[in-house]
Assembly symmetry: C2
Homo-oligomer: 143 residues x 2
Amino acid sequence: MVEEFPVVSLESDALEAARLLASNRLPGLVVVDRHGYPHSILPASKVVRFVVPIYIQDDPSLAGVLNESVADRAADALAGKKVRCLLPIEAPELPSVQSDDTILEVAAVMARMSCPLVAVLDGDTLIGVITASRLLDFVLMPH
Amino acid sequence: MVEEFPVVSLESDALEAARLLASNRLPGLVVVDRHGYPHSILPASKVVRFVVPIYIQDDPSLAGVLNESVADRAADALAGKKVRCLLPIEAPELPSVQSDDTILEVAAVMARMSCPLVAVLDGDTLIGVITASRLLDFVLMPH
């Protein structure tokens, strides 16, 4: 039931991470620390902040009257940054389960934390994720 | 740039909505009111709550020692309910943009609300959504 999912580290290049989100149309990426242990989720919506100039975030009505090229500045805004810099201060926690946990244990963690996905570990090693829709698929659909 | 996205109404059948999430592996569904106007997002993670018995939500450690069939009770728990009953009290708001808004206006709304998708309206008519990763794709990738 475990799914593969693109993983980046806190020290990965921010622009490459944003392109990974974009080209795979992912709602988020799994971020691991330097030991490869799950750290958090980087939601695509948080990366969008970096393509909007600060003065427009402060006054969104300006977005309608300015004719700024978003594409030109987006790559500039992300270039040279690390994934660590993209994470919001309260980055969504990525709960983890063990590969031999039961479906009910996984569902209980997901329900309690209200999280869209959980990391699946074999001991200390990340082997994939389970998304909420994958869990519903397993539980509700004939297999 | 607008994407199609499955839509359910507040009065749609909860079990069918859960199966739609499951079979399409969606992180959430767009929920509209009885006039077809965007109401909120139903995240898959919120539906998972309904497959976990209350006493396990209260004491997750029980999930490891009980051998309850999740599949058997999941369909029962959702049967006969409306989508309205699945929505959390603070369901994620679904912001909307107009189909002739600029990319920068869409990005500004997404950044401000920190939302994974926005509804796209043509006047009062919902014509689709734009997800955060679709927006990043448009902005960061060569087209």
